[in-house]
Symmetry: C2
DNA sequence: GACCCTATGTCAGACTGCTGACATGGATCA
DNA sequence: TGATCCATGTCAGCAGTCTGACATAGGGTC
């Protein structure tokens, strides 16, 4: 009998459990970022810019897994708050290279600490070695999709 | 030097890679369900009812990781399409036990096959044993949150 | 040069999901 | 019994995200 084909319980589906963890992570990040008046997409935008200064709006969108229309609003709001800067005209092509301001750097630092603490808490049941393995396994799945 | 505290690259963050996989899974499910005119929350609702008939709206919401207000719309639309039934009055308390209709069973079966194929494809880089381990690790994280 | 294709930024509209609020049914307890 | 608390279903309003569309900049091809 090939019961491997029939998933008797949702808990036995990798996808369902993945969704559970993702929901938990999302909730933990929301809570951690609330004191800083930041949403998860806004934090993602800052983190991406912190590690890769000069990214365009479209590149930020791909990195944060949203459309460039959505990221456009995120960037604009962060720009109004003075956390990042964008040139009025493109130095080349149409892409506008975005960078963090001093305030942006400071806010990102605080947010990064809070988020990392929440993440550490969520994955605390796993050892360092297990976390490394988990990350590697997930990365393998992503890599095969990108093909 | 404790560089374990500083994540030099986003790719080294478990949370970020998890988000990547979740986004890929979501996209794959959307594509798999599009021919059936089903959204992911709608599919989740059907799947939950298939495995646990008689769930209330609030219970479905918790199982699908959305608010009961959002699930209410999902249920209502599926009810209009004749895929599930709900009594007009609660047999006890206020909870309305929901169940799949014959059409709902049929649609769920088709959707389930499509989704499972997409899921299988996504996790194909991992062996059966690796997938089992991945699921166990993720489940451990969820369990600790529920505490 | 003319043409086509791609990528980018932006606008408008629709949809989805959330928060806040309220009323109801049931359980618990003084 | 009456009061309190919790869970549920539902309504209204709001914010976020998506799809569709358009104009523009650059590279490639004939």
């Amino acid at each position: 009998m090939d019961q491997a084909e029939t998933v008797g319980d949702l808990e036995l589906s990798v996808g369902y459990v993945l969704k559970q963890v993702h929901a938990s992570l999302r909730a933990a990040m929301d809570e951690a970022l609330r004191p800083l008046e930041l949403t998860v997409p806004q934090y993602a935008c800052l983190e991406l810019l912190g590690q890769h200064p000069g990214l365009s709006n479209s590149e930020l969108a791909r990195g944060a897994f949203v459309t460039r229309q959505s990221m456009n609003l995120v960037v604009r709001r962060l720009q109004e708050r003075g956390l990042l800067t964008r040139p009025d005209q493109a130095p080349e092509g149409r892409a506008l290279p975005t960078e963090l301001t001093q305030d942006g750097q400071t806010t990102l630092c605080q947010a990064s600490v809070a988020v990392r603490a929440a993440e550490k808490q969520l994955f605390s049941p796993l050892s360092q070695e297990q976390q490394r393995r988990l990350r590697a396994d997930l990365a393998a799945c992503v890599a095969s999709v990108a093909d």
